[in-house]
């Protein structure tokens, strides 16, 4: 089209239609952006393919027994990841309970005009900084600060309440509780940021209506704001859970890397990610394939949880867009 126009334009004019070079450049550039977009999709598929492909021989060889097996012995070629799956889920659930409580409380505290906007911003930045600290630094801090700090209390609880399964062992060093505590600090920023967004997107008039009916601040929060943003808060928890499942370094350093299934908060345990981090660098050919299988299981679990979280968040924003405005 540009070429047919050319005849009508006076040659001394400042304005000119795009030259054929411009048009070609435009097409190329657009094509490139399109290509890179597609490459994102291919990248995800390639990651799935690569991990699944490398795991395939081990999947064939060990089958379902790998998931239910409880021993890990590279010398005898016996592999099972049930304790790791248990440890992954258990640590993530504990971290979610602690981190969820703190995260949602903070989200409420920082959105409901308890503080002046300036102070709110200060706390918001502090919580965001928690997310900026690298996980390996949290691991180091956990080893030299958290474990010594909680050990006396933990052992006192074990001595006096040892009959409760949660406290049936003593804390001798690394263990489930310090790992879960540090993990909860790491998921807290995610949970608080996402649920803060959910809570602050509740329309003001709903809250004002509650106040108009004579509700106290907390009656409005519990009766109106939390129910309205419940889907979003739930989505925040699921996303935090997904983050906790995949977190590696803090757990590899704090959980104790012991292949056992225990309810006790003080006993060492292991997680899938920590197993990969600790065994992969020194793995032989056979163990490597088996670790790929473990990676595949971890990927399946986290993908499932993240898909669920994304779906919930989408639903939350759809529902709220119905309420708002």
């Amino acid at each position: 089209m540009a070429i047919t126009l050319e005849g009508d334009v006076p040659t001394d004019s400042v304005a000119s239609p795009p030259s054929s070079l411009d048009v070609a450049g435009d097409r190329t550039f657009r094509g490139m952006t399109y290509m890179f977009s597609w490459m994102t999709i291919f990248l995800v598929l390639y990651i799935l393919y690569e991990i699944a492909g490398k795991a395939a021989p081990a999947v064939k060889e060990y089958g379902v027994g790998f998931i239910t097996g409880t021993t890990w012995d590279a010398n005898r070629g016996e592999f099972g990841v049930f304790p790791e799956i248990w440890g992954t889920l258990y640590s993530a659930i504990l971290a979610l309970m602690i981190g969820g409580f703190f995260g949602v409380s903070i989200a409420i505290f920082l959105t409901q005009d308890f503080l002046s906007p300036k102070l709110e911003l200060v706390f918001k930045n502090i919580v965001e900084l928690l997310a900026a600290i690298p996980s390996v630094v949290y691991g180091l801090w956990g080893i030299y600060v958290v474990i010594p700090a909680i050990r006396p209390t933990a052992n006192w609880i074990h001595e006096h309440l040892g009959w409760i399964p949660f406290f049936e062992t003593s804390l001798s060093g690394p263990g489930m509780l310090p790992a879960a505590m540090v993990l909860s600090i790491m998921v807290l920023p995610t949970i608080s940021a996402v649920s803060r967004d959910a809570i602050s997107s509740v329309p003001h008039k709903l809250k004002e209506a509650a106040f108009g009916l004579g509700a106290t601040r907390w009656e409005a929060i519990v009766g109106v704001i939390i129910p309205t943003s419940a889907t979003g808060i739930f989505g925040a928890l699921v996303l935090g859970f997904g983050r906790a499942l995949g977190e590696t370094m803090a757990l590899a350093m704090l959980v104790g890397n012991s292949n056992q299934v225990s309810l006790s908060l003080f006993s060492p345990a292991n997680t899938l990610a920590a197993l990969l981090a600790n065994n992969f660098p020194e793995a032989g050919k056979q163990e490597e394939g088996v670790l790929m299988y473990a990676a595949l299981i971890l990927m399946a679990i986290t993908l499932l949880v993240n898909l669920l979280g994304t779906a919930i968040m989408n639903r939350a924003s759809r529902r709220l867009s119905g309420v708002a405005r």
């Binding site: 450049g25 952006t33 977009s37 999709i41 928690l130 106290t216």
Partner: protein, 305 residues
């Protein structure tokens, strides 16, 4: 007289709501208690950050000296030494990762925000990017091991960089998309009205205007990548040597990084290596915080619609 008394008596029967706010009322008491509790919880949540920072300065600050930046790590019973090679290694790998992830992410973001924001491709790409945001970092390492280390037959800096780029990509892409969307519609229309092609609009108007926001995303991604350990454990491994040996760049060799050094030295029984781990942690956190702050400063210049 009688009438008046009757009226006031009948009023006494009516249960007026008490409108004044009294702290003795159970409702307000509960409300105040819950307010106090969330306040306490918020303050408690800030303790770990200050504890971490305090320990870093207290234990890491002791060893802080210039020789840390110029020497290589000590062996078990040696004292002294440094981690200059690890700093160089971290910067190299983050650099490689940024070289891959930044152009990739921004080009895809241009498509997502400008050329086909409502297309099926765009929603599929956004979905994949969101999946990658939640992708465990250790699996990025497993992938890079399978795709690069097994292929090239050696642990190397590019393998580590590729693993890190997978973690950077979604951050760069999604923040760039957001900031491109923030560019005012009228600016684009003005450029199109002057006869610019869409590519010219992107290069001359959209990208310059959206630059501060995109840089913030890049900074966030770089800060995250610099602190990552898990993807490097079995892609770059570790090394006690400089990446530049005898004047030649040893890219296809195992490469040291601050994060892996901290991990390796955290569990050893040797005091001097533990001290070094704390000092490395301090340096790493400083690097990450500085990059984050630069990103924050840039984001203040961001255009808002």
């Amino acid at each position: 007289m009688n009438d008046e008394i009757e009226i006031s008596e009948s009023f006494a029967d009516v249960d007026f709501p008490r409108l004044e706010r009294s702290l003795r009322h159970p409702r307000t008491l509960l409300s105040a208690f819950l307010s106090l509790m969330t306040g306490v919880v918020t303050v408690v949540a800030c303790i770990p950050l200050f504890s971490v920072l305090f320990m870093l300065i207290y234990r890491g600050g002791k060893r802080l000296s210039l020789s840390l930046l110029t020497e290589t790590p000590p062996s078990a019973f040696e004292s002294g030494g440094g981690f200059g090679n690890a700093i160089v290694g971290t910067l190299t790998m983050v650099g490689i990762a940024a070289l891959i992830a930044v152009p990739f992410g921004i080009l895809a973001a241009v498509f997502l925000a400008e050329f086909g924001p409502k297309s099926k491709t765009a929603s599929a790409v956004r979905f994949c990017a969101k999946l990658l945001t939640g992708f465990p970092s250790i699996l990025a390492g497993v992938f890079a091991y399978a795709a690069v280390v097994l292929l090239t037959g050696t642990y190397s800096a590019p393998a580590g960089g590729i693993a890190l780029s997978i973690l950077m990509l979604p951050i760069v892409m999604l923040t760039a998309e957001e900031s491109i969307k923030m560019v005012p519609q009228k600016m684009k229309e003005a450029a199109i009205g002057m006869g610019a092609t869409q590519t010219q609009v992107v290069w001359r108007v959209i990208l310059p205007t959206a630059m501060p926001g995109m840089l913030t995303g890049v900074m966030l991604a770089v800060a995250r990548a610099a602190g990552e350990t898990a993807p490097l454990l079995f892609t770059a491994l570790n090394s006690n040597y400089w990446i530049v040996q005898d004047g030649s760049l040893a890219l296809m060799e195992p490469t040291a990084s601050l994060a892996v050094l901290i991990f390796n030295f955290s569990g050893v029984p040797f005091e001097s290596q533990i001290e070094l781990a704390w000092a490395a942690a301090l340096v790493l956190v400083l690097i990450v915080l500085v990059i984050n702050i630069v990103g924050q400063v840039l984001s203040r210049k961001r255009v808002t619609r």
